[in-house]
Symmetry: C2
Amino acid sequence: MNRTRLDETLADLDADGYLLDASQEDANQLYLSGFTGPDPFLTLYADGEVHALVSGLEYGRAKTEATADTVERHADYGYEYGGREDRNDMYAAFVRDKGVESVAMPPRAPVGTADAMRERGVDVAVDGDDLLREVRAVKTDEEVDAIREAQRANEAAMRAAEELLASAAVAGEGASTGGEPADGDLTPGTLLLADGEPLTSERVAEEIEVTLLRHGCALDETIVAGGAQAADPHDRGSGPLRANEAIIVDIFPRSKATRYNADMTRTFCVGEPPAALREWYDLTERALDAALDAVEPGATGGDVHAAACEVYEEAGEPTFRTDPETETGFIHSTGHGIGLDVHESPRLASGGGELEPGHVITVEPGLYDPDVGGVRIEDLVVVTEDGHENLSEYPISFEL
Amino acid sequence: MNRTRLDETLADLDADGYLLDASQEDANQLYLSGFTGPDPFLTLYADGEVHALVSGLEYGRAKTEATADTVERHADYGYEYGGREDRNDMYAAFVRDKGVESVAMPPRAPVGTADAMRERGVDVAVDGDDLLREVRAVKTDEEVDAIREAQRANEAAMRAAEELLASAAVAGEGASTGGEPADGDLTPGTLLLADGEPLTSERVAEEIEVTLLRHGCALDETIVAGGAQAADPHDRGSGPLRANEAIIVDIFPRSKATRYNADMTRTFCVGEPPAALREWYDLTERALDAALDAVEPGATGGDVHAAACEVYEEAGEPTFRTDPETETGFIHSTGHGIGLDVHESPRLASGGGELEPGHVITVEPGLYDPDVGGVRIEDLVVVTEDGHENLSEYPISFEL
């Protein structure tokens, strides 16, 4: 945690303190308390100090693990397991004990707690700017190292996926039976086979996830989407994969030890891609390079997004800049910050703010059209004093 | 989803509608919308209908997947990606469009959205009872089947863990070198070895998690805690495991397909357990049986908890009933509901409410003391019309 940045940012608060009520699942909570509590607990920043309040069951672990300056337990406020009102009384007593009469809470803090504080005379303002998120956006060297390490695990998983795809047999090849490309089909390639069975998105995702586990990472979801599925950036992919079409593999693991995330996308094609896909791939590689070239302190997230958009627009592909309603072309932002959350500040999109050294961001242009498929290439970089360092070492290549 | 129960429960609302602003990570949202949106979106229950509002990027998938009666997209309210105020204006317009002037929101709904609705003249009350959680507590047959299926994957993972432990070598056994039990050590057993290396909690957890992935489950954490670590019910366990001490294995996977959770705990001992541990194990098995016997419609969660406590108290072990401050003995509740959340209603604890057919609950008594270790045995059951059905088929045995 960058304590100076935290103190400077929260110094401007129009409140006595900054209050969180969340579990470790909330990145702000994990960052401010330094504690992996599975159930929601309170953390209060006031007068330059961080105070945590946890249940008796968590107290021993929290005393050891939390980076908060003080850790108290429910019993310190005379609370035993009881009703909601007792719990809220305890919360208000904890806040008042720190000399705090007014707090700011992040926009997604629980309304139940906010209203309960208000009923007990503690002013609650919503911090619409989510200031802690902005503090989190600029990483320390230690945080960058944690993300770098997660990216190494990510690369091992990508390698496992690529090898599984590369080793797949193509149905009908060298055999008398087998599928023929169907005319007018959106996914005209023949089936990929592994061990004589159709190779599915699910099978590739399983290989990725097992590899991540073996490398100390957890994850919720992985995208392995081929053909028309790849044309929907949020489709996780399912069912048989085919030759001669684009297969998007997007992996975003979280290190179990540090809880920092990594993120990487590659697009593969087993066999010969149609000319349109080949062109899209080359264009997307150029968009990636142009966007990466634009990443430096003082440039804005908007500048980086514009650099990617320009490559696509010059080639006649639609973007949200040329057509806000388009459902094909470059239909998402160029990237996002990453850290304890997979998606955090800053945004590489129109209106995205100024980049600072320590920002860790994805750069991930892509093109989408159900009639062609989808292509996305995503690297992970950290903004440095004089440009950026690319944290991704995985090669960029299309045909397997 | 039990639509009748939903309608009946929300009919008593003192508001025109029930509003959620959450992603799929929120069980209420997943339940009411039936949509696995990765980013927060709105769902409104009003006049017996469920309405979802999602971004353009999610719209296609939401139309297909969501069980909501209507699905709209941001563009339907003229919203393009913009600032927070524009977004809140859209949210208010969506709510008003359904003829709703007042909403209830669950206690952990975001205060930013609640306050924004209030500023726009929509009354917001906090539903302190979290009524949707209560609706979710009673499962349909389909939901019970989803949990049962996740428990089968859980059992495969428990088997993998048990086999790994059972096949471990004990350091020094049959060899001239090796550790001797240290006098006065909290974990006096000699090291367990796998492939010549100390067998660690992390290694066993990895085996469990890989097995779960191979069975279509995801998971965040697993508890494999031996010796003194097993005496802290929230300790996930780390480092070398030893012979002649209790090793608690607690697995709670989530099916990727259905998103329903399962939960099971077994306690193992490689080699001969000390007499005190053996006694604890037998006692805990009796506490489990007593608690299971008490599970039937009309009994309360408090009754089931009391049945487990009585077994322990008669044997002279402390519980929260005999000593609310105790840090050893039976120091947690007897169980909890499970479904889309790992922990949900009802509670098997003092004050826990009446059990109903369709409640799926864990029953998990245990004993803890850093000087002895920890023992916990956990089954998963569904309350039926005339008692309960045990959804766990895994044997209960201690010594490996």
